[in-house]
Symmetry: D2
């Protein structure tokens, strides 16, 4: 449909091609559904293989059995996970929306088989191999793969993503925090020692599709709860990518009674007094080439309704100019820019397509 | 259990006493929580024993571990189910908010031990012993207990409830349907052969607290689904109590994205043309002595907000006077009049208290 | 508006062209937002004019002031309603998501100016000119335009839509009822005199964006209410399109505590006994060429989650084969197939594009 | 029902009486409904006068027209506001759930007439008379009444409340913040100059019942938005009661898509390192005599579900012992302890009843 030209998007190494053939493994979860929804209307991608990592049985099934919304969209059945079969099929890219342990196990095989991978799990996000035992309760065995993996926020690292074999797609909370803080920290405008507080609120799909009492409808509805104080798994990911020490950043997630969306409210002190227009200017400049980041003008703030069912990250500000206390508000769809949308954005960069292709 | 005075409430047989000592078994579910909430502020009842039928372990625990709302309300711990212990304690009444199979098993023991029981499960609701295999997937072994059990809608059967040893507390859907249809059917005003349709919509607590994919927050939120068409378990209960044949009544439940409340919309044809004021008059007369049933005047209709967190059943009407097509709308809180509220109302009747004691 | 090639889509009269230039009037409402969301990613359409019919002031404003979700998507401002300006701009099609009275007033001017119109209001849906005073509280002055207007359900009337100057885009409830009943009624399989009951449940966006107490958040949330019994405005629209008499069909809408989606449960008697596979076969055959209608196989039923944020109409069945009592369940997104999606589908048909273009 | 003895609750000045006669003015709002719900089952209070300050007309009406939940509970009609009539009736206490401007106007008249008042508006909360123009957009004319008014958090000021003629019932957000911070600030354990951040999330009833676009169902549902950054009206109330300077405390409210409940997450630094048990001990000691404050043990945190439809304030903690960073989580029902529940608690104290009477 679109005429293909030399890469507009990412680094010079990025190859170019007409239609990217994609395998989606872990298709029965929420991120899987979102990936399929995006890929099925992507003008330059095609889903050629669907697999489920679940233990729901050994037989292939139509994906609409899992996602009624997708009824009639895929003729190919969803197969049980089978790495050999993926290798034989030889897609251009494999999306993994699988449990951390599953990704940990099969990514090395896929890479060895010559495939490129976007992994939506956390299995290759943390550079510190020893951290997995602490944060994810499994021993990580693939230090070299960890070293090779590129943490995939295209706005911050497009050239490396373009040539990556393995992109570790970021967590939803980290995406909302990192995109909001990166310009300020990069500019050195934050009084880091005064401490940064990120108070995040997320919809329930961020916690996955496995039924638990914690996510039982009447336990979430008409409720709000904080959890994981001082010890949420996504915290080390933020510290790593923002180059902060544990004492610099407090991160508190809350579970919202909504299906999708994250709003993060960040509190910090500027290292010197500035006016709000400077802050806005910094962000507009930093994200000038980022088609999926939207900066809000003074007096307006992002909200979840503005990003739900979109692939955008929205960022806004309020500043007490007399004291230098700054509040950042960022909003994303946890399944969009916080998961599947960013994964497709990474794919776009990897294959030389404009970042936003199929995402607007 | 102390002084007995003359009955104030229900049938003449009903004894009366100052404080009813109650055991609540199945305290960790939603109906259990509601029972405790009602009983703790009931002026003439006291909870003396809490038990859980779950397999959560063998140790006693504070009930707030299960229901944060009850923190600080009970000094007594919640014990693992132990029938012997209940018999020894000898409460005046035992509330069972247990699975059907558990109730089926322990009710005979409790009765034999001389205790009176209000069973919120379905284990003793259907008079047809053979029906349990079909509708509840277990063989029922206690035909005599079934025969003795009184189906507990106090507005329809207070005298028998007053002297009952075992009250089978009705299902939530049946309560909303039976209370709405009883006056009309009793008066012979319904063209039964034209068929009655009851289209019910219920909040998610009606399905219990066990986590399942079907009740996972993102599967219920922003959704509505019909289920159990032509074959929901509560249908035979309605037929039995309304003395209808299967062909007379269609019942369709739907799962609403709310925590509590049922709205039932019932469609029928009158056996002869009437004006709306006659219908309203019939209902006001039928429920004149019923403190927990509210009849809505012409032009207004019950809604869930009017009954949630109350123990009322609200009933309203719309009539096409020219054709005799009548629409009934009834609303209850599925945990209130549809479960725990009705159970306490039954207790009140059993112990000679005014029906509404502790329920307004 | 450029090159014309041979029609690919609908009727033979339908012209074809590369990019359809569209004006959207009433852009600040929910249907307006949805229209813009669909058109901005439609491969063969372009929004060239945005107008608001509101009284919010006289100045043009960026559409994201009204719809945060659309931030960054439109460079053109939203102008105050000005028919002259639309006529001068000369778009290929004008979408009206305006109040009934506004549409009633401006449609004749637009047609006279040579423009084609898809009107999402009810102003030209009812053929009976005198009905407007009763159902919509205004006198209708344009009988000839009414006569010319084509009621726009593409699955049922594509050829006339293809050549229409004015398409009256159906109401959301009628779409859910008409699509579900049309095949059966068309086949003569319904015992009409036994009566048909359509019990519909709709999300709150169906009631528009104007704040009222009835739609105030705490009045809708955790609630369900029936309204408009025997007298909802959408009922005559259903009767007209299904060729039924008032006594044949009862329609009861309910307001759900969700943002978008309609589920309709329809109860009827077959005119003779049939098996479920016959019903399913009839529907599959009737909608064989309809890309936006999905028929559910026996044992599965549509639910709102399957259609929300899609442009599909989903239809399923449950049949009591022994009595011929049939329950139809249909689901649509009230803003999708129930409003904006259907409007774009009508545009597609009018301009010779495949019906589903830009809608999957 | 309860035997009345000499005051158990508040100060020695508190009178004692059998049944407190209460007038509720502003009965049609959400706080009004909650007041009526609490008072109607209060064992020592009776509602003798209902009035609406609205402009809904001049006639008396049954309160169930405004609150379906209260159908059948009040025989007395709701009258249009008429101060003379209140003075003549001479209730023991007048609850005002009226707009700020209305309270401002009528409180002096009520006091002059010899009545005692609990005002749920903000009209007499701020001691600084000149602050009203800035924060509430009206000039305050009654400096002496302001000076006399007692800010009504019974846990902090029972003796003065006991003898007050006018209690200024606190705002919902301030209640959640002040109760959480008071013990720590009182003990001098907070490093105030490091700054305190209170990130609050509230259900929609906190914003009142007047329909606005901001509170229109589809604008709140599935959304979360921050508002009033650095300039919410409740902020000066917190500063005043906690004796803090503007630079000491940042307060950010967010609008949750739920009906009732506030969760506040507070971030601060301790003035010296402590262990969590010390913090918990401090709170248990501080609130030892407070029947409506519940302190959560280490490892558990309050959530909205635990307080909704209750009159409790729940407080919990997480501490990074190595850095002295403390997170407080407090939860209340904004209509309960955040409004009507606290108002009734104040009434209890004013009339020598145990604080929790009618509130458990």
């Amino acid at each position: 449909m679109i005429e293909l030209k030399a890469s507009q998007g990412a680094g010079a190494d990025a190859p170019m091609q007409e239609v990217v053939q994609a395998a989606v493994i872990g298709a029965t979860g929420y991120a899987g559904c979102e990936l399929l929804t995006l890929l099925v209307r992507h003008p330059s991608a095609s889903v050629t293989c669907l697999m489920s990592s679940g233990k729901d049985g050994k037989k292939a099934f139509p994906i609409e059995d899992s996602h009624p919304k997708l009824r009639g969209r895929f003729s190919v059945l969803c197969e049980p996970l089978n790495v050999e079969q993926v290798l034989v099929a030889g897609p251009d890219v494999v999306f993994l929306a699988t449990p951390h342990e599953t990704s940990h196990q099969i990514v090395p095989q896929l890479l060895e088989g010559g495939l490129r991978v976007v992994d939506l799990s956390a299995a290759f996000r943390l550079k510190d191999q020893s951290a997995y035992a602490k944060w994810y309760e499994f021993e990580h065995h693939f230090g070299e793969v960890l070293a090779e993996a590129v943490y995939g926020i295209p706005e911050l690292d497009a050239p490396r993503i373009a040539s990556a074999r393995l992109v570790a797609n970021p967590g939803c909370y980290p995406t909302s925090v990192i995109l909001a803080l990166a310009p300020l920290l990069n500019a050195g405008w934050v009084n880091i020692s005064a401490g940064i507080v990120a108070d995040s609120k997320s919809g329930a799909t961020g916690a996955g599709r496995k039924p638990t009492e914690r996510l039982h409808f009447p336990e979430v509805n008409e409720n709000l709860r904080a959890y994981g104080l001082f010890r949420h798994r996504h915290w080390p990911e933020m510290l790593q990518e923002l180059d902060l020490s544990p004492g610099d950043l407090i991160f508190t997630p809350h579970l919202l009674p909504i299906t999708r969306g994250i709003l993060t409210t960040i509190y910090l002190r500027l290292s010197s007094l500035r006016v709000l227009s400077e802050i806005e200017g910094l962000y507009r400049s930093f994200y000038a080439a980022a088609p999926l980041v939207r900066i809000y003008p003074a007096g307006t703030l992002p909200e979840i309704l503005g990003v739900a069912n979109t692939q955008y990250a929205d960022i806004g500000f309020a500043l007490d100019e007399s004291t230098g206390r700054l509040i950042l508000v960022s909003a994303i769809d946890n399944l969009g820019k916080g998961a599947a949308g960013q994964a497709v954005q990474n794919m776009n960069v990897m294959f030389g397509l404009p970042q936003q292709t199929g995402l607007l």
